[in-house]
Amino acid sequence: MNQTPESVAEKTGAMFEGEDIIIRVRDLHTYFFTDLGISRALNGVNFDIPRGKVMGVVGESGCGKSVTALSIMRMVTKPGRIVKGQITFYRQDRATGKQVEEIDLTSLDPNGPKMRSLRGAEMAIIFQEPMTSLNPSYTIGDQIMEGIILHQKVDAAEAERRAIDILDRVGMANPKLVVKRYPHELSGGMRQRAMISLALSCNPSVLFADEPTTALDVTTEAQILDLMRELQAQINQTIVFITHNLGVVAQMCDYVSVMYLGRVVEQATVDDIFYNPKHPYTSSLLRSIPHIGSRTKERLQPIRGVVPDPYSKIKGCPFHPRCDKAMRGICDVKVPGLTMIGKNHSVRCFLHSDVVEETANVQ
């Protein structure tokens, strides 16, 4: 903690000591140009995703969690657009484990051959609501096989064999029957397993899980989380776990990025986030939830106010209107920069460093 604060935007080394970074995001801005104005969904996101680890992305709705995943996957569609920033993907050869390529994803055409060869094969996404993200007019088998045939260049019979195999691996009962079923014939938990199979079918090195268990009951949620843990351990997959459920974060993640209004406000190990949170937003988020098994009937401490709408512009630190520790004349004037305050801990708050973000729009 004695080192001088270092701005993450200028930092070249990894944000996490001893970790191999698979994806690095710097100063990412994704805006949506709507009739109501410009919605700055991502307003300078900086973070590192360590290879083979589970990273949680938490925050309230509208903070940009999902748009971050979609931006990395290059799946942001009109009226949205990546306005600036870098997303670097360090591709490794599966067999040798050697880094073979450094790809700047922002420079690629989202529908071009390069991006299409990565999407599905190297990175995949699981959505929150499997009913709306599976195609209702194709069978589960067809949907899984599509990616396998496209990326692995095998014939339909082999693809079906692999689809059945992957369904079996995610614990689906009767996989041979399920490949012939349509999404509406499955229960919520089975649909989510099918969605996971779809995402895992080509063994992607990074899996984005966007609220994968939010629509499920607790006992089903426990089954799915267990499954993801097992798969992660077996194939050393990198998982980016997007959720607002702090319980899921505590149980699943190695590292956590806390987002607020399109920015990462704190990034640290899961233990530091829960036991040594530095950003007032992180600590208020932890205080506002009822903890099961606390035995106390203490009053909850809500964060005052609401997340402002994304069209509004807030001068200074975006959290200062809701922050109990806001310093007048500082927090409402300048935007703090994301700063390393420990080996694995970065925070964007003037209570901990005086680094100002120069790139922030001041107008």
């Binding site: 309230e60 149980q251 506002s288 098994g293």
Partner: protein
């Protein structure tokens, strides 16, 4: 639950006996009935004045149907619903017609889960909140206007907002409007049907605190239907657990969470991901899925997933019995098993 003699009936607000609500499954062109979904299948419970009774269970277990049937939004298939009305005394709701219900209804209100679909988008906040008053012919328009302003202040909203439409508000504010509407007639009992599950975590805390304040200020009794066990632990005095239309356990919150007497409760508690990275215990594996209420298994409905199941569980339905003082469980082995609660 035959031993409610231990409880003074004057302290009770509601008593539900063997409540059943079946929905017919209709198939084919002529909508022929081809079976029934036993959404609520013999629920027994009582609610004390001023308490919060949590009603938990997984989706499809019948907790919402139970809540709505208690309010007579559905007509029960069988059983009794007895309500201790402040003016009329004990009344049976299950057989009442529209006119009779109108006398009791002001005392029983509901807050819905989805604050987006439970407010009419074409009505102003004033009309939404004053509608219960208008229906019951209470007050002049001017008095109603004043009452709406008062109600909005009570739920922490500015009275100026009453001329706006629901779309102008956030989820948390809409839920406050729904709460103001439920309070309009000074009810005794409010059924809160997943009132915070559609809200962001920080807003959840605001609404939960508001519900607690209102309960204290207006001596309200809540039946709090939810699937989030952390929220239910926080707000409830007693908790009832439902599984496939039946009550499997009912006890004081602490007892139910720390010394459960039903294997389903144990599994449910273990499945909740704890917000503490230093306590990463693997949950109890609960195989399979919730049984279908259209085609439930024999005996104890939970036996196909229960790791303690024995032969008797396959054949005999366990009744809900008082296995410890004010602790009810419907498990053949409630007092033999040593079950794990929340650690």
């Amino acid at each position: 639950m035959s031993n409610e003699m231990t409880i003074n009936r004057d302290e009770l607000l509601l008593e539900v006996k063997d409540l059943k609500k079946y929905f017919p499954i209709r198939r084919g062109l002529i909508r022929r009935s081809s079976g029934v979904v036993k959404a609520v299948d013999g629920v027994n419970l009582f609610v004390k004045k001023g308490e919060t009774l949590g009603l938990v269970g997984e989706s499809g277990c019948g907790k919402t149907t139970a809540g709505r049937t208690i309010l007579r939004l559905y007509t029960p298939t069988g059983g009794e619903i007895r309500f201790n009305d402040p003016k009329l005394g004990w009344v049976n709701l299950e057989k009442m017609d529209r006119e009779e219900l109108k006398k009791v209804r002001p005392n029983m209100q509901i807050i819905f889960q989805d604050p987006f679909s439970s407010l009419d988008p074409r009505m102003t906040v004033e009309r939404i909140v004053s509608e219960p008053l208008a229906i019951n012919n209470i007050g002049t328009p001017a008095e109603r206007h004043a009452r709406v302003a008062e109600l909005l202040r009570i739920v922490g909203m500015r009275p100026e907002y009453m001329s706006r439409y629901p779309h102008a508000f956030s989820g948390g504010q809409r839920q406050r409007i729904g709460i103001a509407r439920a309070l309009a007639l000074n009810p005794k009992l409010i059924i809160c049907d997943e009132p915070v599950s559609a809200l962001d975590v920080s807003i959840q805390a605001q609404v939960l605190n508001l519900l607690e304040d209102l309960q204290r200020d207006f001596e309200l009794t809540y039946i709090f239907v939810a699937h989030d066990l952390s929220v239910v632990e926080h707000i409830s005095d007693r908790v009832a657990v439902m599984y496939v239309g039946r009550l499997v356990e009912l006890a004081k919150t602490e007892e139910l969470y720390y010394s459960p007497k039903h294997p389903y409760t144990e599994a449910l508690m273990a499945a909740v991901p704890k917000p503490d990275p230093r306590r990463r215990d693997r949950p109890i594996k609960l195989p399979g899925e919730v049984a279908s209420p259209a085609n439930p298994p024999s005996g104890c409905y939970f036996h196909p997933r229960c790791r303690y199941a024995k032969e008797i569980c396959r054949t005999q339905t366990p009744p809900l019995l008082e296995v410890a003082p004010e602790h009810y469980s419907s498990c053949h082995f409630a007092n033999e098993l040593n079950l794990r609660g929340v650690l």
